[in-house]
Symmetry: C2
Subunit: 350 residues, 2 copies
């Protein structure tokens, strides 16, 4: 089997984990009817570039967007600092601090725009900030998932000797714990940000411990009453990084908690769909190609549809494609069908 | 065909839209081999109750949760009002107002806890508030989608005369516009909340128009600097409802904008997967049951896997079930297989 090379392939097409791939032992015994084609890697067949990261802009791009926002915001509020009122330290730091407090929607109010122009500037920056932070958050979540999947693949590779059922059970156990592990990670980070924030507000800003904790809670949730905030130069320098990280960490924590809940429910539904008694009526409905035989693939498609994983629309689209490719209308695809249905020039497919 | 009754069925199992169902013309011509079984509706076969709304608690339940939070919060802060400092109107209204301002993380800071106990109470309520609002938001989004899907089904029903390709194209066009339409709806609601908030702050709170607009922007994004806020009794009574609605509307607007973007990207990917040249290597990989024949269902499953819609793990799970049901190991399921593999007592399946 393809074996080790699976690890070098991009995750985009959801290559099956090694162990799961072995499920198709029957398939593997079929002799290869031709050498691996190379046309698959031609430029015309490459998926659209922007899609390589799962349909969203890359993490680096979003990081750049965040940096651009902060740079632009800092410059804008630096220039507008004469139109701001409130607790002041150094002009550049205050501009960056106000930018972060606005972007994350913490909005303490310890530094506020005082002129109409500055107020409208803040309005523009808060809407843009919500979009930037939202994009960054979703990308950060994707990034963590990808990292974890790479780890999973590596772990599976290291345990190649466990084959068949055992490997499959292991994959499933690791998959199941993945969301829980993510939640634990976010929970740990949450504790770290809560403690570090409280300590800095206590030691650097000279707050009482309860006030420091209260200010931390009001900040990480983006509540930001503003009766307690960072007012010293050292505190604000810390706040700039800490607020950005902590608000994202809290959002991730809630996101993962929701994911864990949803996953459990879906597992329950999947178990029900799996264990439900299959009736003769199901057989008839599952007979996708009307040949009065329900093969393995027919059955799997029917169950996945019942599970709500795929829609009839999606199936129809690919069935149309199948009909186009099935040149001799035999109900199965053969290399001869492909050659007849797909002329060498790709002009038909652009 | 089942026809009209499709409208009466729950959406959970993703019943195909009427037009799409007609795609299986070949299947429809197969004579029914038995009367519709009734055992399918037995209690033992019903899906777990909590799952009927797609794996999340129902909208009504979440509404109750929100109401319970506000009631409990209002009582708590009513009792703690002597430990609060800031702009005051009537005690009960202030408690509810503070509760809403905390729950939505707007956090103006025009009314803040002054004692340690009140501060810790606020900390507890803001974390709970984030969870409640998040759940409410996700449920509100689901609810809107369900409403829209029901409309879609009804529209299709009304146009039953357009069959085959035409209906399919219509379904696809409506599906495609669904996200855009949701975004337009949220955008319209956004404008309504922005205007109504500005007018009330201008007329009731007596702010200048720019200040009113500035306060509205700072509120709907949950920024809440707090230099401008609702300080009159009439204003706060309005604010309680307006803040809850407007923050959810803005969040939905951003959510739908992200969904539209993701959907477009996924459509691009789907188009690529659909148009990609199918090679002999693909044929071999798509041969799920190793019978060296790639049927329609094999092809569809292979393409859906390539699209990342389903994972090998999910397929494996149902393949295992198929193997169990295929009593005579013929590679296809027959009523005889089902009878042999599923004894009448369900003891094996619990």
């Amino acid at each position: 089997m393809a074996g080790n090379s699976a690890l070098d392939q991009p995750l985009l097409h959801q290559q099956p984990p090694e162990g799961a791939a072995r499920r198709f032992r029957r398939c593997r015994t079929a002799p290869s009817s031709e050498p691996p084609p190379t046309d698959n890697s031609s430029a015309a067949d490459a998926p659209p570039k922007t899609l390589f990261s799962g349909g969203r802009p890359s993490f680096r791009l979003v990081g750049l967007l965040l940096a651009a926002y902060l740079l632009l915001g800092s410059i804008a509020f630096y220039l507008a600092m004469d139109h701001m009122s409130g607790t002041r330290t150094s002009r550049a730091l205050d501009a960056l601090y106000f930018c972060v407090v606005t972007m994350t929607t913490v909005g303490y109010g310890d530094l506020v725009p005082a002129s109409d122009a500055a107020k409208l500037l803040a309005c523009a920056f808060v809407f843009a900030g919500v979009a930037v932070v939202g994009t960054f958050l979703s990308k950060a979540a994707d990034y963590l998932v990808e990292k974890q999947e790479a780890l999973l693949f590596r772990a599976l590779h290291a345990h190649k000797q466990h084959q068949g059922h055992e490997t499959r059970m292991m994959v499933r156990a690791m998959e199941m714990n993945k969301v829980r592990y993510k939640l634990y990670t976010a929970g740990l980070l949450l504790v770290v940000t809560l403690v570090s924030g409280t300590v800095v507000l206590w030691k650097v800003e000279g707050m009482r411990v309860v006030d420091a904790f209260y200010c931390v809670c009001a900040t990480v949730t983006t509540l930001g009453y503003g009766d307690r905030s960072f007012s010293s130069e050292g505190g604000r320098a810390f706040a700039v990084a800490w607020i950005t990280v902590s608000t994202v960490v809290v959002a991730l924590f809630f996101l993962y908690a929701a994911e864990l809940y949803t996953e459990r429910r879906q597992r329950e539904l999947a178990r029900w769909v799996l264990r439900r008694r299959t009736t003769n009526m199901d057989l008839e409905a599952a007979d996708l190609d009307g040949d009065r035989r329900v093969g393995a693939a027919d059955f799997v498609l029917y169950k996945l549809k019942e599970l709500g994983k795929i829609s009839q629309e999606e199936i129809s689209e690919f069935l149309d494609e199948f009909d186009k490719l099935d040149a001799d209308h035999s109900g199965t695809l053969s290399p001869a069908d492909l050659a007849a249905a797909q002329p060498t020039e790709r002009s038909l497919y652009i």
